[in-house]
């Protein structure tokens, strides 16, 4: 059953013209993550590789292609977590870096801290020699078009129709170590400095070798209120399968705080699931030389790797 990697390209409602490329991107990311794992790489290497590819792909709301905040600027959040030690790294509201997930990993590995925010995160990136990229290079025509279409004073929560969510990945390597990574540009028209669930440990991701790993996507504020990732793992600690635990927690989030979203989850044995209560979620999983993927509820297409 090991190794395994599962990735998502965001829950929500994907505009028709992007469906094909969004589905192709997650398959490609899962393949890359899987090839890291089969060549002996760690779960952490695999999730960072997969999420980096999604960040570099302009159709997703992370890295290049991020949505714009109320001022038309890009601010990104990312989180990584290593299930062996519970070590974790995160950046919030960071600007001018191409791959926030790699920066989050550096926070984990090179500092005594877990999360760096805003200008402090950029300052750390410079100190580590991470190249600063111009904001323009992160902004796609599509992102600018959607931002320009907004009425002045648009409500950031109500203007998420056509939103493409956060990206993320979870993996178990051949040694049985788990990891997760999540990356996002946040929500369209968010206030400057808004931090969503993604960089908040237990909300935007969690990994523990003893229980499982989760990366979620969806309405960030709702995910935070129920600490979605940790909640799913609590259910798994009580003996629920990844699928049962995900459905329980997503139902609870919908009922208690009226939020929709989706998750990818693995347990230490390699049992995996991709669940969502939004209309769609692009996801792909690689295990035992098979690639699984889907977009709508109930879909699980397979092809050999």
């Amino acid at each position: 059953m090991l190794p395994v990697v599962v990735v998502h390209g965001g829950a929500g409602q994907i505009p028709k013209e992007n469906t094909e490329v969004c589905c192709a991107g997650v398959r490609e990311a899962a393949r890359s993550g899987y090839s890291v794992l089969t060549s002996g790489g760690s779960a952490m290497d695999a999730v960072v590789e997969a999420v980096t590819m999604l960040e570099n792909n302009p159709v997703y709301n992370a890295g290049k292609g991020s949505v714009l905040n109320v001022k038309g600027e890009v601010e990104m959040d990312a989180l990584v977590m290593d299930g062996r030690t519970l070590d974790s790294g995160a950046v919030s509201a960071v600007r001018g870096v191409a791959n926030p997930t790699q920066l989050a990993r550096m926070v984990m590995e090179k500092t005594s801290h877990l999360c760096l925010t805003a200008e402090g995160a950029s300052k750390f990136a410079r100190a580590m020699g991470v190249p600063e990229v111009p904001e323009e290079s992160l902004i796609t025509d599509y992102a600018r078009m959607r931002w320009k279409k907004l009425e002045p004073g648009s409500n950031p929560v109500e203007c998420q129709i056509g939103k493409i969510g956060t990206v993320g990945a979870v993996a178990v390597d051949v040694e049985g170590n788990l990891a997760c990574a999540t990356s996002t540009g946040g929500i369209l028209n968010q206030m400057e400095g808004r931090v969503g669930d993604t960089p908040c440990i237990g909300c935007g991701g969690y990994a523990d070798n003893q229980i499982g790993a989760v990366s979620p996507t969806g309405h960030g504020e709702a995910i935070m209120k129920v600490t979605l990732s940790r909640l799913i793992l609590f259910h798994m600690e009580q003996g629920k399968s990844p699928e049962e635990a995900s459905d329980l927690a997503l139902d609870y989030m919908k009922e208690r705080v009226k939020g929709l979203g989706g998750v990818v989850v693995v347990d230490p044995k390699g049992t995996w699931t991709a669940r969502f209560n939004s209309l769609q979620m692009t996801w792909a999983a690689a295990q035992q030389e098979q690639l699984h993927y889907g977009l709508y509820h109930g879909e699980d297409f397979t092809e050999p790797i």
């Binding site: 601010e75 030690t85 519970l86 070590d87 974790s88 995160a90 919030s92 509201a93 090179k110 500092t111 005594s112 801290h113 877990l114 999360c115 760096l116 925010t117 805003a118 200008e119 402090g120 995160a121 300052k123 750390f124 100190a127 580590m128 409500n155 950031p156 929560v157 968010q190 206030m191 400057e192 400095g193 808004r194 931090v195 969503g196 908040c200 440990i201 237990g202 909300c203 969690y206 960030g220 504020e221 935070m224 209120k225 129920v226 600490t227 940790r230 909640l231 609590f234 208690r256 705080v257």
Partner: protein, 310 residues
Amino acid sequence: MKPVIVVHGGAWAIPDTLAEASVAGVKAAALAGSEVLKRGGRALDAVEAAVRMMEDDLVFDAGHGAVLNTDGEVELDAIIMEGETLAAGAVSSVRNIGNPVSLARAVMEKTDHVMLTGRGANLFAESIGVPTLPTDALVTEEERKEWEHRYKRYTVGVKELFNSQWGHDTVGAVALDSFGNVACATSTGGIRNKMVGRVGDSPVIGSGGYADNKTGAVSCTGHGESILKVTLARLILFHMDQGRTASEAAKSSLQFMRKRVQGCGGAIVVSPKGDWSATFTTERMAWAAVDENVLCYGLNPKEELKESLK
């Protein structure tokens, strides 16, 4: 429902020189919060009042009295959460705000978001008329001297043993009101000589605090990075979901944190039935609680002193 409030002034090796002022500070804050509850106020108002009082108290590392980061600046984190709707507000790395807990509450009540960070949080403060204070207004002379003396030299990219060396800490409060609502609030200046932009556990929902009318409210303190790794507040409430008492849940979660990530800390907890606890694995934690007409407080392990308020 009998109202209860519990507050803490941080879990760490509080030196004798600060012991008396710390205990006096948490007692005053618990009484301030209790007054709100006695007048029929909500748990949310009570925890905000108690935390504001400690933010204004120079002895605590939150608001006035905060520690300095590597650049000699003040950056503050805070969260507030109410258990009825799970609504929450937080600010991280906000500069030079006297009462970050009230700004966190404004994020909860006046925006669609849960958390604002850095300059964005300061811009929001300005937009709603919250004054930004000069650094000198928040930093004590002792803190400035300590920072200049011991910490000025620092290299980025070198791991330091913050876990055993950090000084000062977070303040927080949890409350249960007469309507059966619980709430929590936590506020901090972080750890001395932290990197610019470092966010600890305090503003992170489920780590620095959590409140749910169905299970209870928690505010945490201690080594932030360790608290984050185990999402301590949510972990304690998960144990309470499984039928543990406030005290058992806090103890087993803090023990887990020590065992799994070698971190020490403390937590205050209140359940919707009024079961409460103040627990820590550090050398000391200043805490106080008002339950019925008794003020309980302590500083050292297993210490629980009582004063009648009649």
